[in-house]
């Protein structure tokens, strides 16, 4: 654990240094830029609240990808699942005549259902035709993008709006604000705790983890691989769908054009850089949210375009992942050299 923490830290530092180099090359002041980034993401309660709120879809799609990758299925469909979650939550919010205590849970459930159904379609195609979920979920992303766009320009369009969007959902479906902080954070905390519980306590969750690490071993141990596959796809779809529902319910309270575009690959990115670990996903989700949230303030103060953060994120992913493998290898070789001098003993198989 300390080693994985150290290599991650080293990777982030290296990536920030590379980012600083890029900024210097373009005549910006890296110190001022990073200071502004910090200032506008974590500097005061307001920014902190925004960072936390922005982290919600990042962390949930990140959890979706982490849980999927750690359990085997290559679910790359978070963007599409998010959109369907948002769409179903919006539909419910527009048409379900329920009071807030019932409407909010119903919309959350609808959001999860939407994501799960869209992921379930990929699982179904895998079961029926043995089609790789990797390509299928990607294609379903594009289809979901077009479908939801049709929905908000056609049948669900707000006739009074100038750009494609639905009307606002009933206020009973709005997630309340607690001071500066959104109550969506509570939903996120519950979802994260749920995932922890599934992986650490639930018998099937144990099977998911072990299947992700060595499917043949798990199969020989009596795990039901194909049933688990479907369960993982539905669960991770539900997580991404929940992200979509929360974006609608906590934010603009309607389905806006380009709703999911900001989170398109972020979930997969966070899972990859966090090596599919739960604490890693939470931390990197917060970290990337801080970068994205601070970016706007950074642009105001330092003239560094906010898009720079997208580059910085990709550099962080590459450098952290590469250094994780490399540093561990070097440490192993170094330890082996040291031991060779002291003479241990365990003969190797030929």
């Amino acid at each position: 654990m300390p080693r994985s923490f150290l290599t991650a830290l080293a990777g982030i530092l290296a990536a920030l240094l590379i980012g600083a180099g890029v900024m210097l090359a373009q005549g910006y002041n890296p110190a001022a830029t990073y200071a502004a980034l910090f200032e506008f993401s974590l500097g005061d309660v307001d920014s902190l609240a925004t960072t936390l709120k922005n982290a919600i879809p990042l962390i949930l799609t990140g959890l979706s990808a982490s849980v999927a990758f750690a359990s085997g299925p290559v679910n790359l469909g978070q963007p599409g699942q998010l959109l369907f979650g948002a769409l179903l939550a919006t539909l419910g919010g527009l048409y379900l005549p329920l009071p807030a205590p019932l409407l909010i849970p119903s919309l959350l459930a609808l959001a999860m259902l939407g994501g799960a159904l869209w992921a379930g379609l990929a699982a179904l195609l895998r079961r029926a035709f043995d089609m790789s979920e990797f390509i299928v979920t990607l294609m379903l992303n594009s289809i979901a993008d077009l479908f939801t766009f049709w929905a908000i320009t056609g049948p669900l369009a707000d006739p009074d709006a100038f750009s494609p969007m639905t009307p606002a959902i009933q206020p009973a479906g709005w997630l309340p604000e607690w001071g500066e902080f959104s109550s969506a954070l509570l939903v996120l905390a519950l979802a994260a705790a749920g995932i922890w519980f599934v992986f650490q306590r639930w018998t099937a969750g144990y099977e998911w983890r072990l299947t992700g690490q060595n499917a043949l071993f798990a199969r020989l141990g009596g795990c039901n691989i194909s049933r688990n596959f479907v369960a993982v796809m539905l669960t991770t779809g539900a997580l991404a769908g929940l992200a979509g529902g929360l974006v609608v319910m906590a934010g603009p309270h309607r389905f806006l054009k380009g709703l999911g575009a900001n989170y398109a690959w972020d979930g997969v990115m966070i899972a990859v850089v966090a090596n599919n670990s739960l604490p890693g996903t939470l931390l990197y989700g917060l970290f990337f949210s801080a970068l994205q949230t601070g970016a706007l303030g950074m642009e105001l103060i330092t003239a560094v375009p906010s898009e720079f953060i997208q580059v910085l994120q990709a550099v962080i992913v590459l450098v952290v992942v590469a250094s994780r493998g490399r540093l561990s290898e070097w440490l192993d070789v170094w330890a082996a050299r040291r031991r060779a001098r002291v003479k241990p003993l365990a003969p190797a198989p030929d």
Partner: protein, 528 residues
């Protein structure tokens, strides 16, 4: 540039080959070679012998540039050399034929042979097919090999594929051939042919380094013998005048006893039975059924009995284990444990009746990256009610912790923490965890597939003791092993597999090593 015009590489390996103080450590903590020094003379057939894990292959890989030595140096003709890969070694006239044959199955023989040294024409490097084919044919003729250069490598027999590997090196004009257990994959009648070819190569001035653990082969073929044991150099002797018992003693480090360790124990009723079990290979065309990989196999094991399955690897053992475990569908036949038909049962259902130790720890027996704890409770998580609550839905961490402690104590596992990754355990301790996990299931029938492969002597002894205890506790044990010595020590009966069939089922006390060996190779008893 064509092959014929290739200039002779500078300072080919015609002189002495010296390995000096070679040490090799595999991270994190395996010492494969420990200060090994050997010298090979040009023009000799030099054997490297030793038990599994002695370091023979690793030493040759260091010489060949496939593995970098942690310490020590390689000298050719008195000059230190540093090969950064096989390419360097080949350029200096060294070639290696690996234990596993590394041909591109999809390519023809000639394509495989010229790969890496192709005759070409034109600016884009167009393959000169005619020239290549002619050059390969010339080499085949020059060394009297029986090969069709246009055949697809994947369609050839193992012996022919091995010949292609040798031809590949001859085509590159190497003068030193390293052969890693070449006879292990051959049928017995093919061995003399290989030896004749090797002698012919020696007569043509080639130096041959020959890795083996078959004493007879070494003594009939080789000039010099170097013995390695547990990564250390033990001796280098002339083969002439060296006796088999002495060589065996050098290899094992003690007098080899083939004594049985079984005490008399009358077996009970039949626990496990397979009747006319047949497994087919997946068919290639789509309609026709595939070739039978397991044919009409009938076996039974009684309570308190150990039945060994012997055979050269690849004669159906994999399919037998796969069919018993439910990985491969049985095309015909029945599998029963205590009268219950498991032929088409799910793996979980099978696991209610049998325990299983797989031959490949990292692939089938465990997840190396997962914590020891997670590896220890596999299968128990579904079938051991003590570990779960809420009708099996939830795991009970405290109970899991107690279970791992019990396993550690009962099976004497040395480990730091239950949460440490499985790969941090030594091979012996890994196997103890796996064995312990399966034995704690407490099933009437235990299927063991090469349970001591790759283990050191101490761990092997431990596993053997456990197997004998199972017998004493009236369990039925089916032991698949490539190690005849192990089978003769442990098994009450030995079933011999040959080409997917059981060709003999003999009480161990009424047969001999030589007889079983013959059955394994020939599929029928020795005449007379």
């Amino acid at each position: 540039m064509t092959v014929a015009q290739r200039p002779a590489a500078p300072s080919r390996a015609t002189g002495l080959i010296e390995l000096r103080h070679i040490t090799k450590v595999f991270p994190p903590n395996t010492l494969a070679l420990d200060d090994v020094s050997v010298t090979f003379q040009p023009g000799e057939i030099h054997a490297l012998v030793g038990e599994n894990g002695a370091g023979k292959s690793t030493l040759m890989k260091v010489l060949y540039g496939l593995e970098a030595a942690t310490a020590g140096e390689v000298r050719l003709g008195g000059r230190p050399v540093r090969f950064r890969g096989p390419g360097d070694a080949i350029a200096r006239g060294l070639g290696m034929v690996h234990q596993e044959i590394l041909l591109v199955d999809e390519y023809t023989v000639w394509e495989n042979v010229v790969l890496g040294a192709e005759p070409v024409a034109g600016p884009l490097g167009q393959l000169n097919t005619t020239l290549a084919l002619r050059a390969v044919q010339a080499k085949i003729a020059a060394f009297g090999l029986d090969l069709d250069p246009a055949a697809r490598a994947g369609d050839l027999s193992v012996a022919a594929r091995q010949k292609v590997e040798i031809l590949k090196l001859l085509y590159r004009d190497v003068s030193v051939l390293i052969l890693d257990e070449p006879t292990a994959v051959l049928a017995p009648q093919e061995v003399p042919q290989l030896f004749a070819e090797l002698r012919r190569l020696r007569a043509g001035g080639q130096t041959i380094l020959f890795i083996s653990h078959h004493l007879d082969e070494v003594l009939t073929l080789c000039d010099q013998v170097t013995v390695l044991r547990r990564g250390r150099h033990v001796a280098t002797r002339a083969a002439a005048g060296l006796g088999k018992p002495e060589l065996a003693r050098l290899m094992v480090g003690r007098d080899v006893v083939f004594t049985s360790r079984r005490s008399p124990h009358p077996p009970g009723g039949v626990v496990f039975s397979a009747d006319a079990l047949t497994v087919r290979a997946p068919s290639a065309g789509g309609r026709a059924a595939g070739r039978e990989r397991l044919r009409d196999v009938s076996l039974s094991v009684r309570a308190g009995e150990i039945v060994g399955v012997a055979g050269v690897e690849g004669n159906g053992q994999f399919e037998l284990v796969g069919a018993l475990m439910g990985l491969l569908p049985a095309a015909a036949g029945r599998v029963r444990v205590n009268g219950r038909d498991l032929t088409h049962a799910s793996i979980l259902e099978r696991r209610r009746h049998l325990a299983f130790v797989a031959q490949d720890r990292g692939r089938m027996g465990a997840s190396l990256a997962a914590p020891i704890r997670d590896n220890a409770i596999m299968t128990h998580h579904r079938l051991n009610p003590a570990l779960t609550a809420w009708r099996g839905w939830l795991l009970r961490p405290a109970a899991v912790g107690r279970f791992v402690d019990e396993l550690r104590e009962r099976y004497a596992v040395t480990m730091r923490a239950a949460g440490a990754p499985f790969r941090s355990l030594s091979g012996g301790n890994q196997q103890k965890v796996i064995l312990g996990r399966e034995l704690l299931l407490d099933r009437p029938f235990i299927l063991l597939d090469q349970p001591t492969r790759g283990l050191d002597v101490g761990s092997t002894e431990y596993v053997h003791d456990q197997i004998l205890q199972l017998r004493a506790r009236d369990r039925a044990v089916l032991l698949v092993s490539a190690d005849l010595e192990e089978l003769f020590r442990l098994a009450d009966r030995i079933a011999v597999m040959h080409r997917g069939r059981i060709v003999a089922d003999l009480p161990t006390d009424e047969t001999t090593l030589a007889a079983v060996g013959y059955l394994m190779l020939e599929g029928r008893p020795a005449a007379g």
